[in-house]
Symmetry: C2
Subunit: 267 residues, 2 copies
């Protein structure tokens, strides 16, 4: 076995000093690209039901996975990623946090930006249900093409991108709190969820984000050919669905993370 | 343990009857998108040298991986994917084929389209070297941001997309051979590599492909904002590099696979 030389001093994680609305905004915008691109890659395949199904009564002995194929792929990939320290980053959250192995790599020196209580907030169960029960049926074409492993891989990428984006609410909340502790303090001390949610909601900003992600879906999801006939543009993922994903799930769930974080911010 | 119900009858793999230049062309074009998108995702991160480096003399005991981080991630992911049958597909080729475990899932009934000798052609060693020694330094910005695990994950996606595209040359060669066995037969019987390479080269088509992938890099790699100022467009990956990737490596290596396949086609 060879020993890996691993630098730990540098990281593009935002340090406590650099944390501001602009740096957080830039990260959120870049993450939109990743989410839209991962949905486009998933849309290459039809729904592929057997990726999600299992039959506990089947007597076939040729396939023994604990749960569905997607469950197996996500869980086993998280075990592998845990070995290289993925979940020591405050930006990453596993879907199956139990029984993850410790990292084989030396610890990263992530800047301590968030309140320590951030570590106990993980809403991936909700994200998992939202993705498979609500979002996926909206944009995956009906059908079965047999590519179950590749389908599960694409689902994993979508789940990881959505989880990272939604849990980034911790950083959003921290920067908002630092900018105006006098606004948030009373609602936090009163543990008033509704008041916090109101303070965190800016409808015009949300409309702008929905417009921007729809535009990204149009641009990234178009069929590109060298002759510029624009008549019949077909998008790989319907831009209205990406807009709805943000309006109905990504932004509300990010605000849920923000509220959960702020409720603990003065503990 | 629950048993996975897995349909094996359907697959979007091209069956022997459906194999034609149009179906192969469509797959190659769709794979261009995946390659361009995976390069764009990799370009989020700077070069991140420690992802690729290891120091066999280091006495640090806190990190013990066999080889570099990227080697570890690719190898371990291939082991996981082998368990769900990825490498039973004639379109997939592992970078570390030794010691892969057998699938836990039931066998897929992939249509038998290629000559059986196809199975022994795997040029991933060449693709690995090309990617890390030539391509990556061209498009990854200098620097180190500490995201080594995510960087290795992105490299894996790029490698998989390039490997799939280049080895698709087997299908390209099969369809060309079936369309004109009288053209290829003499060169195959003479085992004449140069004559085969000449038969497989269409410069005007290659120029068109280079133009199209550059256009994809422009469209998919642009910064999207809601205000349409076009002054200072910055692309996430230089379109000229994507064009060069195809001209210098993807298309020549695909033709190498085609030649290797055709040399065995009449065995």
């Amino acid at each position: 076995m060879l020993t890996l030389l691993m630098e730990t001093k540098n990281t593009n994680m935002i340090s406590s000093d650099e944390l501001n609305l602009e740096s957080v905004r830039k990260s959120l915008i870049r993450q939109e690209d990743t989410i839209v691109l991962s949905l486009i890659e998933r849309a290459k395949f039809p729904f592929n039901f057997p990726t999600y199904d299992y039959d506990p009564s089947s007597s076939s002995s040729s396939c023994v996975l604990s749960g569905s194929l997607v469950h197996f792929i996500v869980k086993e990939t998280e075990i592998l990623h845990a070995k290289v320290g993925r979940y020591t980053s405050p930006e990453e959250h596993p879907f199956f946090p139990d029984e993850l192995p410790p990292p084989l790599t030396p610890p990263h020196n992530y800047p301590q930006v968030l309140h320590p209580a951030a570590a106990c907030i993980n809403i991936n169960d909700t994200i998992w249900k939202m993705y498979f029960d609500e979002l996926l049926p909206l944009f995956a074409a009906e059908g079965d093409d047999g590519n179950y492993g590749s389908t599960a891989e694409c689902d994993l990428k979508c789940l990881q991108a959505l989880s990272r984006r939604i849990h980034y609410g911790k950083f959003v909340a921290e920067v908002k709190f630092r900018d105006a502790p006098e606004d948030y303090g009373p609602a936090i001390r009163a543990q008033d969820r509704d008041a916090l949610m109101k303070l965190l909601t800016f409808e015009s900003v949300e409309e702008m984000v929905k417009g921007r992600v729809a535009k990204k879906a149009m641009i990234f999801g178009q069929e590109v050919s060298l002759d510029d006939k624009e008549e019949d543009i077909k998008y790989k993922v319907n831009p209205a669905i990406v807009s709805r994903l943000y309006g109905e799930w990504v932004m509300p769930l990010t605000k849920l993370v923000q509220v959960e974080y702020l409720l603990r911010r003065l503990s």
